[in-house]
């Protein structure tokens, strides 16, 4: 029995929405303040209701918190497995048999602001896979994965784009350490 061609398998996933997920809890202000406190962010938009009312029609969350709302609790009743964030990345490593991987770039594009009480949804889309390439890390492939975030009304909230490089370390004489 022949093994399925991993490239054909992966290319079939390009553009397909995968791993739809809904946030475990609504966006809440206590966590916004915890985040702002961690970096001493005094932006009045997040602390002063009058400023928030005037500029954003009510309190919003800092845009860069968008992925925070999807990280699972460390423990939850009945859960036996920990979901991996960016599962498509791990699927591709497995598919191509590439044991190592790094993320080279991360871009986030911000759309509709996130408001208190929002319950966000996300899904992942594989956008591209490169030909086999050799870098100083090893030989493997680059891939681009998008994580799309929407709110409960279906409005686009953010698109996060990761470029990953899955690779096999070089072996034999002359290989860099």
């Amino acid at each position: 029995m022949t093994r399925p061609d991993p490239l054909a398998q992966a290319l079939a996933l390009v553009g397909r929405e995968q791993y739809p997920e809904t946030g475990d809890f609504p966006v809440e202000r206590g966590y916004v303040w915890t985040s702002c406190a961690s970096v001493e962010n005094g932006n009045p938009l997040f602390w002063d209701d009058e400023v928030a009312a005037a500029l954003t029609d009510g309190p919003i969350a800092p845009p860069t918190m968008v992925s925070v709302w999807f990280r699972p609790h460390h423990w939850a009743p009945g859960r036996t497995e920990v979901a991996l964030p960016l599962q498509v990345h791990f699927d591709l490593k497995e598919m191509f048999g590439l044991p190592e991987a790094v993320m080279t770039d991360n871009t986030i594009e911000f759309h509709t602001p996130v408001r208190m009480g929002d319950v966000l949804c996300t899904h992942q889309v594989l956008r591209s896979i490169s030909e086999e390439k050799t870098t100083r890390l090893g030989t493997g492939r680059f891939w681009v994965i998008e994580v799309v975030y929407t709110n409960q009304a279906g409005d686009l909230v953010a698109v996060e784009s990761y470029t990953g490089f899955g690779y096999q370390r070089p072996t034999g004489a002359g290989a860099p350490s």
């Binding site: 970096v39 005037a54 845009p63 860069t64 990280r71 991360n106 986030i108 594009e109």
Partner: protein, 166 residues
């Protein structure tokens, strides 16, 4: 309605402008606060023994989403609350550890008014420790074009966070 005067207008900004520098002494508390604030429970961000013996790093280190929060804070310290992030791109080349003094420095690369009349500045920000770059970030941030302009009021076709393709 509260009257708010924008701190910075697009017309106040030009390519080559340097943003005020932010230097911050990172402690173990900084790293742990940042990890918990981003709901990142992985041990290399709070357990030094794990970080050293399993990850081979010299200590626990700042996680990526928390660095994004540091960049946002740095940019909006400069822009004021009217500043609205459109897009950020990060590239990480090293870790930030307790005991490091991290320094954020930004330079305006360009400014533009897009086809919808929204003003944007593109800023290159460098996060360094001891002169060594740890993370670079390119941010596109909307700034008011006039005193009565509010980038946050834009939505749909009037909010284009990424630059138009050439």
């Amino acid at each position: 309605m509260t009257s708010l005067t924008p701190r910075l207008l697009l017309a106040d900004v030009a390519a080559g402008d340097v943003l005020p520098e932010l230097a911050y002494d990172v402690t173990a508390t900084t790293v742990v606060l940042g990890a918990l604030a981003t709901r990142d429970w992985r041990p290399m961000h709070h357990d030094k023994d794990f970080a050293v013996n399993r990850n081979g790093t010299r200590d626990i280190f700042l996680n990526t989403p928390n660095q994004a929060a540091w960049f946002e804070r740095y940019l909006t310290d400069w822009s004021g609350p009217h500043g609205r992030l459109g897009r950020v791109t990060f590239r990480m080349s090293g870790s930030v550890f307790p005991g490091d003094t991290m320094t954020l420095r930004g330079v305006v690369e360009s400014t533009e008014v897009d086809g919808t009349g929204c003003g944007f500045a593109t800023v290159a920000v460098n996060l360094a420790v001891g002169g060594h770059t740890k993370t670079t970030c390119t941010a596109r941030i909307a700034l008011p074009c006039a005193a009565g302009d509010n980038p946050w009021a834009r939505s749909g076709d009037r909010w284009l966070p990424s630059p138009a393709s050439p």
